[in-house]
Point group: C2
Chain length 199, copies 2
């Protein structure tokens, strides 16, 4: 008796997401997956392909969502505001969907070559948006950066970390968190602070 608002295949996806994030892909068995979804391991295969296809589906949906949002954000003209928006988007995504982002970040190596190529291609497109945003900021004199490639990696790693510790009932709420990281990012790229902030 499925709920009126949640389809069975959605329940399977949700269970997989939760377990993959918690135990890892290789650490999660088909039978645990079935238990969490309220099905037998045989019924599971009515709603999914292979276990790997389930993982890929999770990664694809997470990455395409982030990528689409970033492609909108990146159209802003001011380099500082554009970086600000990118950081806020990335941090917000990692804070509110930590399981998705952790699976994407941690389980890429669990994929077979073909599937990995697709996922890595999506990730590369996303990182290219950041790279261009930073390059443009440097070219227009808004940022002062030694190595843009290093700064890009440092920025992304530091923002992704949010998925590993932030919770909504901690000291910082989501707005604080985004503001904090946006400030760190501006400093990191050598951009002036907004509104004469000084801390």
């Amino acid at each position: 008796m499925p709920s009126a608002t949640t389809s069975t295949s959605e329940r399977v996806q949700d269970a997989a997401l939760r377990l993959f994030a918690e135990r890892g892909y290789h650490g999660t068995g088909i039978r645990q997956l079935a238990d969490a979804a309220g099905l037998s391991s045989a019924s599971l295969y009515h709603y999914m392909g292979t276990k790997e296809e389930l993982l890929v589906a999770i990664m694809r949906s997470s990455l395409t969502g982030l990528l689409d949002a970033a492609e909108q954000v990146v159209q802003m003209d001011d380099p500082g505001e554009r970086l600000d928006a990118l950081v806020r988007l990335h941090v917000r995504t990692h804070a509110t969907a930590p399981e998705q982002t952790r699976v994407v970040d941690d389980e890429v190596n669990a994929l077979s070559a073909g599937a990995r190529a697709e996922v890595v291609a999506l990730r590369d497109r996303y990182e290219t948006l950041w790279q261009s945003a930073l390059d443009d900021g440097v070219a227009r004199g808004a940022f002062r950066i030694g190595s843009v490639a290093v700064a890009r990696r440092a920025l992304l790693e530091m923002c992704s970390g949010v998925a590993r510790w932030w919770t909504p009932d901690g000291e910082l709420d989501l707005d604080d968190l985004q503001r904090e990281y946006a400030g760190l990012a501006r400093r990191l790229v050598g951009a002036p602070l907004r509104h004469a902030e000084s801390w």
Copy 2:
């Protein structure tokens, strides 16, 4: 016929390190481990306890090494130079021993509760050193930081990321890398740059 300079148990540890870093703990089987070490799966158990104890040993040795070094570094008096030394140590370690650090960072969740407690305790001691270094810098007016807890996490995450991309034959050598990250860190904590660097 073992080599004169490498004991068998060291070869087991090295093989485990390489495979755990590449395929993950749950993705690595006992037989793969044995093949990589040049032993049968039965002989493996002459040199190790359980597979999990092998993982714990790798993590412990990596974390205690880093912790010992950090405890030396942290005795420096000047907050800016101390942070500089911490960043350089962390980056150098992650760049030159990426497999160890990746296993430590990625496989903590694969541990059982007891083993995880020990490893997390070591990691917490290390992070406390950073926290104190940042607190002291703020108290003495050397750093301007919004949330020290956020800055600490951002710093550590961004520096740890080095283990995921840096190679010795890329554009940056190890010195460049450390300098680059030390500069990013100083900016992040709102400390003045050294030697009137400006980029």
